[in-house]
């Protein structure tokens, strides 16, 4: 049984884009909350101006993580960052990403996607940040039943606790394939009954997991279990957008066996193409 994730080393890859300030501020805040050490990592030349501007941002922030280090290295962004994740034994990689990719910024976006796919650790993609305070109010978790669900949910509750979120929604997608296709009244009734059973099953399953989570975490949160009808792995992003979630948590197995890798990475690709909100992708190492 794998344990719920705790992040003790966070690495933020930053570039000098207009969003650099918010991104760095958020990195500082998150690592402070999580009591993790923070590595700010820039792929590119180290210049005085760049250095000063980063220092200025750090000084401005009220959040002080246990340790901050700034690294400068030259090379291709993807490769350099991936190596850095391994060398510093990073648990969580923070990346500022673009919500929707168009032809112009496709290249920048594709770096984020490549990194997400290849990173040896969990990845948090930040898209809509506000300079002001806490925005991690509502967390949406993919509670699709598989062998990682328990850890995913536990980790999400821990994060919700650390970020003092207010609401957490466990989303289970009721897949079309499991239900009789609707053709007339009879099949409609059948499909409805089947959906009801599936809902109950998933509710029992989620409740079992919720039992294990300590009450002191649960009490502070509004917990909701939501069933959505849609294509597996696809609709959750849409849901996160509709309810204006601040964070979407998905998990991915870094398992070499073909099937789960295949089925999961497809969902991931979809979410990555059209980031609905900030997305945390939990990765678990191979057993």
């Amino acid at each position: 049984m794998k344990e719920a994730k705790k992040f003790s080393c966070i690495l933020m890859g930053f570039a000098f884009s207009p969003k650099v300030k918010v991104n760095v501020l958020e990195a500082l805040r998150l690592s402070n909350y999580m009591k993790a050490k923070l590595i700010l990592f820039h792929v590119g030349e180290k210049t005085k101006i760049k250095e000063e501007s980063i220092d200025k941002i750090i000084k401005e922030s009220e959040e002080i993580p246990p340790s901050i280090s700034i690294k400068w290295e030259e090379g291709t962004p993807t490769k350099t960052l991936l190596t850095a994740c391994k060398t510093y034994n990073v648990d969580l990689l923070l990346l500022g990403a673009l919500q929707r990719e168009n032809a112009l910024n496709f290249y920048i976006g594709s770096i984020a996607r490549k990194l997400t796919r290849k990173a040896p650790c969990s990845v948090l993609l930040l898209i809509n940040l506000i300079e002001e305070k806490n925005i991690w109010e509502h967390i949406v978790v993919n509670a699709l039943k598989n062998k990682l669900t328990v850890q995913t949910i536990e980790t999400s509750f821990n994060i919700a606790n650390v970020l003092s979120s207010k609401k957490i929604t466990l989303v289970e997608e009721i897949s079309q394939e499991k239900v009789t296709p609707v053709e007339d009244e009879k099949s409609l009734l059948e499909a409805l009954a089947e959906k009801e059973t599936l809902k109950k099953k998933s509710a029992i399953y989620s409740k079992d997991i919720l039992e294990k989570i300590p009450n002191k975490i649960k009490d502070k949160l509004q917990i909701k279990i939501q069933n959505i009808f849609g294509k597996r792995g696809y609709s959750i992003g849409h849901y996160a957008k509709v309810v204006r979630a601040d964070l979407l948590v998905m998990s991915i197995a870094r398992n070499k066996s073909l099937f789960p890798l295949f089925s999961f990475s497809k969902d991931l690709e979809y979410i990555l193409l059209e980031l609905p909100t900030n997305v945390l992708i939990l990765k678990y190492k191979k057993e």
């Binding site: 007339d184 509004q222 609709s235 204006r244």
Partner: protein
Amino acid sequence: MNSTFFRSLPGNIFSGFVVSLIALPLSLGLAIASGVPPIAGVLASITGGIVVSFFGGSHLTITGAGNGLVLVILSAVTILGEGNLYEGYLYTLAAIICSGVLLFVFGVFRLGGLSNFFPSSVLQGMLAAIGIGIFTKQFFPMIGVIDVKGSIVDLILHIPSSILNIFSYRTFDELFPIIIGVISLVIMMVHPKIRNKYVKLIPAPMWIVVFAVALNYYYQGVLGVPFMKEDLLIKLPKNIFTELPRPNFGKIASSEFILIVFSITFVVSIETLLSIKAVDKLDPLKRRSNISKDLKAIGLANIISGFIGGLNVVTVIARSSVNVNNRGSNRAANFFHAFFLLLFIILFQKQISRIALPALAAILVFTGYKLAAPKNIIKSFKIGKEQGIIFLITLVFTLYTNLILGVFFGILATFLIHVIINKNLFLFTRNVLKPNVLMYEEEATGNYYISVKNFCSFLNINKLKNKLNQIPLEKHVIIDFSLCRFVDHTVMEELSDYNENIKRQGGSLEIIGLDFYVAQTGHPFALRKMPPVTKLGQKENPYLTKRQKDLDKLSTHLSWDYLPEGSSNLVKELDTFLYFKTKIINYKYNQIKSKNNTISFFDLSYSEGVFIAKDDQKTSFLLLYLKKKIPVFALDKEELFSNIYKLAGYKDINIKKYPDFSKHFFLRGEKRREIISFFQNEVVFFFESHPYYYVESNGDTLLIKQKNRLASAQEIKRMIAFGKELQSLLSKN
């Protein structure tokens, strides 16, 4: 078989009889128009009626030879027969059998949804082209000219000269067919306008048959002169049961044959699905047809019909609606319509062969005209110029090339027009295959909420329809298009159809999030697209959506004012509310307010934080202006306190006297004592006894919000009622 079946049997037998009266002349006429022996049409109707009534999945539909196929079959017979009509007929039978197999496969794999991929203006254009085809081809037999050949376009150009030619006719023999044709046409036109119930009892086509046959008997029996030239009469085989033609599969591998099989399959499935959809709307028992099952049955019927020498079998709308009007109530009516047809051709073979062709042609000229009536294209242009253009492109290409190419160019034109209107190709190419519809049941109300994103057009409407199909029809459905940038005419029309269906079952459908979209015309089916971001909130949209019209009506009801256009003059006022502390207000729109300015409802566009200004949110609010000062507070459902996190410093105010209230509501504010003294008896009772809303006070104004989305028209009414009551309560104290 249960007792209701037997009880309804006499009714269905009667209805089947009436339908067979129309089916007989139509089947004969359609077969002649298709260039095959007249009996082929009747055989198709008999096979269709029997097979589909046993294996079909719809309840009130009538199946038989259909008008949509005339052009396809006629060209099949000419092309495959290479000049020899009878040879062509035998090859065509093989094509009909092959298309039957395809249709059966469609049914097995539940591919009925494929018909969704055709834009509705393209289908309209296609039907009009078919109508023009039937009209022109049959116009000549109606005036007694049977040896004309050429493409439809040639024939259209030929019509004026042949009319002029009539005036040069001298002998009665020459004029006689024209007289029969014209009288028949007049019967077709006048019959619907006659109110006499005895005239009404027999359908117009049967009156024509009776008229034509009676005239024939009068000439031969009473006057003793031959009625008309032999080639203007119907020819039936001497014994229809032994002289079955043999389908010829000799050209099965040729490209023409394959194209014909596809054309037939395409038209049969489209005509069938459109008819089923239309007939389901007429069903007094509100049943839902099983389309896949019906397609399988139609496929089987086509296979059998092809083997015995019949035309293709489709579900036909006109005869089906006659069936409904005569109180047919189940599939027995379809069966008996076939049964009576069989009886007619066994018993009245001689009489049938006395029907004059001009009479039958007149029936078809009339049906062709109805399909191609100018009002159809005018309607198309009313929905939008672009729809009219699509209609015309499909029409012209279908007439000049063939049906498949015509529809193909129609679809291509629709797509290009969508790209041009949006000035964006990526929107379509990038999203077309992505699932864009999310549906879930809203917990508190049991309503179904559907959110559609990116774009919604004929290209991906099946995804939306799939979801809609899964909803029990007595539910309340809310479709939210606010994440969607473009909605096309096909979708609007489909939703309006769905709305009709769901209304009949006691449910309802409301569309939200379309109000700010630009429409080209005021037609309810007009396509709508999101205006460029910079213009939001400034540009007035001349054409209101259904929801906006509802709002307009509501405001007249209440004698309030309605201001649909966007404006930003509320911004300062709203900023005083804690709810908007971290939000940036863009503009309000769809405002309705009371004349004395004490209560106002509006939709508001705002963003959370500067960086996502483009990704704005839209939510409905109600503002109450109070006469007296009240404390500053925010009241929410106990579990939804997230709205006011900015007040993190304040704790939930529990009022000891009202434990229930405190348990269910989350009350926050700075001045604890004032708030407690405000929440007393009546106020507490009011909140406890009404539905939950988020209510916030800034001292002299109350802000009320229901959900984090736009409210539907029904929800708005409830919100306003809630606000009015609360206002009168607070002014009393």
